[in-house]
């Protein structure tokens, strides 16, 4: 297989270990005086966006940062719970850059680019250093050193954390770095702004059209480069662990203006989420993967067993992950854990009223911790109650906020009875195709963090999203952007009365007018829910050709209905949440179709993409490396018309093998 001539990944020559070091030392530079006249637009202020905007401003570039939230601090990175990986080997347990690289490639089911992943592992340690220097309060041991825990798909402890609020603390660190630059006038901050389109001039991205969400006014912004740090598209499923406002619009607009979309069908279904409780539900809440350090997953051995969990004796419980995957146990990767939960529930062993849930039980490890604490405190012959109380304090320190959240949502106390959990849409490995420099197929247009496709292959390992977002923003783009901007020092700021800006703004205006004048009968949310159901049923945890074909037809029909019958109340020139949602859902509908097309084209199972027709006798994903070891990069041709370009994945350092966690 040869890569498409339209895709040049620009992977540096040399050995895997030397690529990034050599690249950094030879990439073109921009001198300080020239940086001052180069303008960079950063869309999104999560981990990738805030860290990129802050760092580029520190370097001297003129930066504009936009977010749709009322403050950059609210970007959805804030909700990441469990931790951030780094190959520090502080635990002396055999970790190394190579191991983090290897675990990530294997965890991604051999569908990620080696050079990018190795670079990610190389800079992972710098991230921890940088965050600590900013005052991020990571968990610590009594001796004052940093603490670590385990995450899925690894056998070392390399995850740094701040209780169950690691994303919050990392984002607040990046946000404070960003606000520092705002205070110095080096970053212009535009909160409550949506990016409506990108503007290309002579084949290069030269700016964006944005909408001030308070006044409704459309704005034109010029930039020598535009960075999309706009997160993932899990909300295409309507119900997901994403924030309500998380959307694909920026990436989708870029796609329609020439940026290829990479591996859109790779969706991560997270195994441990609070189950759906009713049709009123607006979002799903994650229970961090870190809980699988101390929580054991089980279902009753008997189908339809309605006894209370505490009444089911030990030998009548099926700890199915420990049974099927003894080497990794409860810490298998997310795709494996999710499919195993679905398999048990589909087979009739599920628990709770809906029977679409499994138990995540902390009793065993609460007791274990209690015994350790009793020994530490010199308590002899403590009672079971005393042990459980001491153990509960330990569990509380590790996961307190998660247990509180669970209790608040379900009304049940997880310290006393096991949590009920079920998989839910969480993350999208797919995203805009980017080269080694994080540039899309449109020169000057970049994608960072979850918005790009680059590092996680077909399945992301836990605690690697925070790592990637910050790697891209703090340590990758500050170098790689020089490769492009060094050629742009003669480009003067283009006035925004240029015809390309005028035309792009007119198109946005036209779309707003169209949405407001349909005056149909159905709300935006009703369309979003219908799209979500199609996607979950036919392009969710398991897919097959027949389902995907019918999903494509249904989505095309839904699109027609949306554009003829949606009801968007209110005006264009005011804060109008329904109008904002309408734009986003219209784009989700188009993306949903491409996801199904991609899933239908990939006749294999890998990571989060599980095609029922392609599985091993044990029900594991069956890859087809001869025919599908490529990145699917889709070019937008016209409505419902996408052309596939392949980037061949070459594994020069890792031997392709079927993943084995048993």
């Amino acid at each position: 297989m040869a890569s498409s001539s339209k895709l040049n990944a620009k992977i540096p020559e040399g050995t895997l270990e030397s690529k990034w070091t050599k690249y950094r030392s030879t990439v073109h530079l921009v001198n300080p005086a020239n940086k001052r006249s180069l303008e960079v637009i950063v869309v999104g202020t999560g981990l990738a966006g805030a860290s990129a905007a802050a760092t580029l401003a520190e370097m001297g570039y003129k930066v504009k940062a936009l977010c749709f939230q009322d403050s950059p601090r609210r970007a959805h990175s804030i909700a990441a719970q469990g931790g951030v990986n780094a190959a520090k080997n502080y635990q002396n347990d055999g970790d190394s850059v190579y191991r983090l690289f290897y675990d990530t490639i294997k965890g991604g089911d051999y569908r990620a680019r080696e050079a990018n992943v190795h670079r990610l592992a190389e800079v992972s340690g710098n991230i921890i250093d940088q965050c600590v220097a900013q005052g991020v309060p990571f968990a610590r041991e009594y001796g004052g050193t940093l603490s670590n825990r385990s995450f899925g798909g690894t056998q070392v402890q390399r995850t740094f954390y701040a209780a169950g609020q690691t994303g919050q603390q990392l984002l607040l660190g990046a946000y404070s770095a960003l606000q520092r630059q705002v205070g110095m006038g080096a970053v212009t901050l535009l909160a409550r702004h949506d990016m409506m389109d990108v503007v290309n001039i002579d084949g290069k991205c030269r700016g964006i059209i944005a909408r001030d969400l308070v006044t409704g006014k459309l704005e034109r912004h010029f930039g020598h480069a535009v960075l999309l740090c706009t997160g993932g598209y899990g909300n295409v499923f309507y119900l997901s662990t994403n924030a309500m406002g998380s959307n694909v619009t920026a990436a989708w607009k870029a796609h329609k203006k020439g940026a290829f979309f990479g591996n859109p069908c790779y969706t991560q279904i997270h195994p441990t989420c609070i189950p759906v409780s009713g049709d009123h539900q607006s979002k799903l809440t994650l229970m961090s993967e870190s809980l699988r350090n101390d929580g054991r997953i089980w279902v009753p051995k008997k189908q339809g067993d309605n006894r209370k969990p505490s009444d089911i004796p030990e030998d009548e419980r099926d700890y199915y992950l420990e049974r099927r995957y003894p080497a990794f146990g409860n810490l298998v990767p997310r795709d494996v854990a999710s499919r195993a939960a679905k398999e048990r529930c589909d087979a009739g062993y599920g628990v709770g009223t809906s029977k679409m849930a499994v138990y995540l039980d902390f009793a065993f490890n609460t007791e274990r911790y209690g015994k350790i604490e009793a020994t530490k405190h010199n308590l002899h012959n403590p009672s079971k109650e005393e042990i459980m109380k001491l153990g509960k304090d330990v569990v509380k320190e590790k996961y307190g906020n998660l247990f509180d959240m669970y209790k608040q949502i379900t009304g049940e106390d997880p310290y006393e009875i096991p949590m009920r959990i079920y998989p839910a849409v969480h993350y999208t490995m797919g995203g805009l195709w980017v080269d080694y420099n994080l540039m899309t197929t449109v020169p000057g247009l970049y994608a960072l963090g979850e918005a790009n496709f680059s590092d996680h292959g077909a399945n992301r390992l836990g605690a690697s999203a925070l790592m990637q977002g910050l790697a891209d923003g703090y340590f990758v783009i500050p170098y790689t952007i020089g490769d492009y901007l060094s050629e742009e020092i003669r480009t003067k700021s283009i006035p925004t009365n240029h015809e390309a800006f005028v035309k792009a703004e007119a198109e946005v205006n036209e779309r707003i007018t169209k949405l407001l004048t349909i005056k149909g009968t159905k709300s935006v949310d009703s369309f979003h829910k219908r799209l979500g159901k199609i996607m979950w049923d036919k392009c969710g945890m398991a897919r097959n050709a027949q389902g995907l074909q019918s999903a494509i037809t249904e989505i095309q029909q839904l699109k027609k209905e949306f554009w003829s019958d949606v009801r968007v109340p209110g005006e264009a020139n005011e804060l109008n949440s329904e109008l904002e949602k309408a734009h986003r859902v219209a784009d989700f509908i188009e993306l949903g179709e491409l996801m199904c097309v991609d899933a239908l084209t990939r006749n294999e199972s890998c990571g989060g993409h599980f095609r029922e027709e392609f599985q091993t006798p044990d029900g594991e994903a069956l890859r087809d490396d001869d025919n599908y070891a490529y990145v699917a990069a889709w070019e937008y041709i016209a409505d419902s018309n996408f052309e596939l370009h392949k980037e061949e994945l070459k594994y020069e350092n890792i031997k392709l093998a079927q993943r084995n966690y048993a």
Partner: protein, 257 residues
């Protein structure tokens, strides 16, 4: 579509924009399930309003899991409603009774102008952080993380202060609209850590100056902020802020005069 069997009366603040006067409007929320969050109840009401060709109620929200700090409803006279230590999005309808009348207002503070209905402008908080809520270090200058050893108790206290979500409930709860709890949380986090020592004094002076310029009121030690904080940020932080501020003022006076 019916979801449950609670019926409620809502009295909600409606205001077109910051330049117009607002008023209370009454809405009926029908078929509400006790398992819904307060915001999902608003979703049901808004869906119904849209179906009736009326304008939905504007409110801020995003993560709906109690961490982003966007949601901000003043419910029956209390920020984030009747339950302690939760945000509006984590408040569930099982905390109310069938037939209840619920009054919902935006945060009230001169420093938080109303944008529309229940959505307010909290950019004053961002400007306070921009004035000094950071450690002055550029990317790439950090040393190995374990070269900075931090006493676990200090690290835990810093974390507890850093857990602030910047929602502004403290300001809404305060009769003076003071932002002291918010400011003290960031000042405390960085004052407790070795990384924050270099600019410890400038930080507190600059952040307090910005806080005053934004029009927040003074602190009179009532403690409503702590009681209403969804993340249980402690009043001890305000005590620490006061110490930091006095000490910085005294030291800086010595230097400059």
């Amino acid at each position: 579509m019916s979801h449950g069997n609670m019926n409620l009366t809502l009295k909600v603040w409606k205001q077109k924009n910051k330049d117009t006067k607002g008023r209370f409007e009454t809405y009926n929320a029908k078929g509400i399930s006790p398992d819904m969050s307060f915001l999902e109840m608003f979703d049901v009401v808004n869906e119904q309003l849209i179906n009736e060709n009326k304008e939905p109620i504007a409110f801020d929200h995003d993560c709906r899991e109690g961490i982003c700090g966007a949601c901000s409803m003043y419910i029956n006279g209390r920020p984030h409603g009747p339950k302690g230590a939760v945000t509006t999005c984590q408040l569930h309808m099982r905390s109310f009774k069938d037939g209840d009348t619920i009054v919902v207002e935006p945060w009230r503070s001169a420093a938080f102008p109303v944008i529309k209905d229940l959505a307010v402008d909290r950019s004053s908080f961002d400007r306070i952080i921009a004035a000094g809520g950071f450690v002055n270090i550029n990317t790439g200058n950090a040393k190995d993380a374990n070269n900075i050893l931090i006493n676990k108790d200090d690290a835990d206290d810093a974390f507890n202060a850093a857990a602030c979500i910047g929602c502004g409930a403290c300001v809404a709860a305060c009769k003076n609209s003071s932002a002291m709890l918010f400011v003290s949380a960031k000042v405390s986090q960085l004052a407790l850590l070795p990384q924050g020592q270099i600019e410890r004094q400038d930080r507190v002076l600059n952040m307090v100056k910005q806080m005053d310029e934004e029009g927040f009121g003074n602190c009179t030690n009532t403690g409503a902020c702590e009681a209403e904080c969804p993340k249980s940020i402690s009043l001890e932080n305000i005590a620490r802020l006061n110490r930091e501020y006095s000490s910085a003022l005294l030291t800086q006076n010595k230097i400059h005069h």
